[in-house]
Subunit: 302 residues, 4 copies
């Protein structure tokens, strides 16, 4: 359960206070505001604030005085053009702020995206809750035998049970000892900034994360991708659902040009042109390495 | 006159459409939205959008679920603490988007602040207007005789008149030739991306500029400072008036700790401690250079 | 002539002083160091310093203790893999510092690349030289009739002559007046920070520019592209020649995957798969806009 | 022991290969190159590469053709001026690349400094070593009773022993289970990207970290400060020793203006001026909060 009743009450209170504004406003995003979208066993994504909408992108691209053209079709065409030609600055004119609760090992991947603003819950200052990510049985995957950083088949039977026992047992023991070290009951109590080092990477943390739409798309392209680790991909997927409601035209262009598209090297284009001309091309004749050829063929199959 | 009737009509239309929102809203900023605050002879600053308020700063610092504490005093104290200790990330949680019209030589200084989002009016794509910055008589300053990058006394009489004549005359001739080169009347017409190079640095450009509050404060500290060039300082001053209405507590802390404060080197602190103990300190005995000593004395006078 | 004899002497002196170092060193880059590669009529690009080589990329990707594998082939394969999968951080481990002299309107495009370090010659502090970019006849292009931000045919005869006359005449007059305003001969002399605003955008400036290899590749992809304005493309081309000597394996991968490659949208991939299966696809049946279809066909032709 | 014999051999090999270069070279830094400076129980800091020296700072500030002035005193004066007036861009012209081995909880603080390049050892791809930070007895501090994010007295006797037992025991058990989950001996073996989540935050990781001198000074100001957590401060201290040998003039200015200096708010300056005029000022009459007054008094004592 990601939220306590007190936390839910604070969220409900915030959702009760509507204000008048002259700013660009998106009804679909107002419906998301403050609510917790649950992710994994204790995590969530909450929209705290947003700036701009689809029109804000074209308004900035045109440096216009008002809202830009009335014709929605023109705006969509321009947005597609900007996305196709990597004109990224107009997308930077939209901004979103999220409150995210997530395991530390996910946070460590996430923070690598540097062009964003972050305020994380401080374990030097405060005490972390007893909340750990324990995978569901169907996500307990074996090491991939073909990909050094991927997953293979799902673990079965005894091995799965033993793994879950270890994860659960070690998490609970680590937290018991964390509490025991912090306790000032008849002792001084270890500094919080030291005690926290006993907690494993599946403990939950939380942060406020603010990012512009261009950099968010970059994050989503990498993290909503099938090669991303499952535990961060579910966060990216949850954010995709939000962005779809926030800037539908920009999101559709993103899906078409980034998520659903493909890119080819000069060697790949050579091969492609020969194939379209009816020639047979093999890995050897293409000049590509085996790995590259495998990816090339996968792209063409879709 | 910075705005045409058409532009004013677009602005009025945008100000007429109020929406309901659950987001943090600041009445003082709503009053600024879209309006043009005039700067220099043809320039302006307009607020296009904003995200967050004073509470958003403390909410992020506490990573809280709702709006944070009800006690305004606690929020102010926390904001002052964050500012004093250079905890900059909570201030990054507020964002502002401005539409600015400004001379190119001012734009060239402004753009040096890299942590911001910019969309500038494109002179490759569009034709610039016949608008040039011509200083008012009281800002026509001589080169400073003590500061290599500063101004001295105001120019007088014939010299002032001659300078203004040159600036006005060259601007108009440059624009006449710009138009003549672009003209397709009985000729091909030079490419816009080439013709623009004839325009001097006092021609006006415009852009959308979006920045978070931490980086905006950094900009204001340097550009609203008495050492900044007058022509960018007036923009910074206009923005200060806006920020004061947006995040009053954060702005008050900024004024106290950044704009009104002073900093001393280790040598300066040595001197200060001796002076407080009743000793006489001179430039020679302080170990400071002449320039540093002059600044030290100026700080103490205020 | 981009360099005075004094400047050339300073460069020669710097090239005369060889030192011993344990750092990664690239003989091909040592040959470039400090020399001015001429660009346009008065501009240049000079390599001032560099950090890293091809091995530094793979060393960082492997977080290794020494230089990484001895097998050059393994390093090349890894570099190609990193480039293909947008693993950008290992490329950030190489850094280059350039001294560039360039017209102001080129500098204004260039500075939009924010992830770099810049120190520009200050026209508040110093006096600019009488050096202006005047295009050669074959680069005096008309506005494109199909592309709002492109060039068409080269101007001919009288029109070309008149354009050159205006550019030359206005540049010289602007500089004469710049000098006249600055002059302290019998008058106060206008502040340099004001006088400079009379100078047109084809005046030369110069700066030190430092950037990592990943961000440099991003710059080169956009600016060495055929859609970039000619006057910035020649700088990008000159830098490409340098990078080729500095990190040959990384540059080859960049050429293959970025410069010579192509990318397709989801709609484009649909069309491609149908074409490979022998179906006929038209703009209408593809779902692409006319502009997108034109670019799609151009990619396939190569 | 932070290095294995193999690793030491790789380092020795790299130190054996000296090359000729025309680049700026600093003998003091050459002596540091590749060597491991030990930090904590298993950590280290190694200089992998560097770009620039003190002269590179002034050369960029002057945008000069050669090495700048011959007079070392002039360079020092200019460096002090740049530091005093927050002219940060010339310091960005120097760059350093480090290889650092550090506990994960230290890495999590460190990575918050976003303007840097990082390649971390991947626990998705590789298996981490059995190395955990276990504090020495004298660093086993109690929670501070006055500062929510600080340390108080050192733990004694039984409490200290119990804390060390827990840290050591949990680390070893977590690693035993990590190995057991990964093992493919008679089972599939859990994916590395999942198994790693069992490891606590005191496990060691390592990365290549590259940063410019301006941003490094910012890091050092915050992390070599007495308020920083001890475990990151020792890394900052080790880096300070390196920087001192690399850019002695810049480091001296940094020490004087940043580390040894103090800053005062407008209220602080008011109080200071009154005190210099012989008036008595108290916390109440100063308008400062208790916390601010305490820091003000501490600054004056030094």
């Amino acid at each position: 359960m990601p939220l306590t009743p007190d936390q839910q009450a604070e969220i409900d209170a915030a959702r009760g206070e509507s204000q008048q504004t002259l700013r660009a406003t998106v009804p679909g995003m107002e419906a998301h505001l403050y609510k917790a979208h649950e992710v994994l066993d204790h995590g969530f994504v909450r929209v705290i604030d947003y700036m701009g909408d689809d029109s804000a992108i074209t308004q900035a691209a045109r440096v216009s005085y008002g809202k830009g053209t009335k014709a929605v079709q023109n705006d969509e065409g321009l947005i597609r053009y900007l996305m196709r030609h990597w004109h990224s600055t107009p997308f930077e004119m939209c901004e979103i702020k999220l409150h995210v609760k997530l395991p530390v090992f996910v946070a460590r991947q996430w923070i690598r995206h540097r062009t964003a603003n972050v305020n994380e819950y401080s374990a030097r200052y405060s005490i972390l809750d007893r909340e750990f990510y324990i995978p569901q049985a169907e996500h307990l995957a074996a090491q991939s035998t073909v990909n050094n950083q991927g997953r293979g088949a799902v673990l079965q039977g005894e091995e799965a049970a033993r793994v879950l026992d270890m994860l659960r047992g070690d998490s609970m023991r680590a937290y018991d000892h964390y509490e025991a070290m912090l306790s000032q009951d008849g002792q001084d109590g270890l500094a919080r900034e030291l005690a926290r080092m006993n907690l494993p990477a599946n403990v939950y943390t939380q942060w406020y994360w603010k990012v512009d739409l261009h950099n968010l798309f970059h994050f989503l392209r990498l993290r909503a991708d099938s090669h991303a680790q499952y535990e961060i991909r579910v966060y990216a997927d949850a954010i995709c659902e939000v962005v779809k409601d926030w800037v539908p035209a920009a999101y559709a262009a993103f899906e078409d040009y980034r998520m659903g598209g493909a890119q080819f090297s000069a060697r790949g284009m050579d091969a492609l042109r020969k194939m379209l001309a009816g020639e047979t091309v093999t890995q050897e004749s293409s000049g590509m390495s085996k790995g590259e050829w495998r990816e090339f063929e996968a792209s063409l199959k879709g």
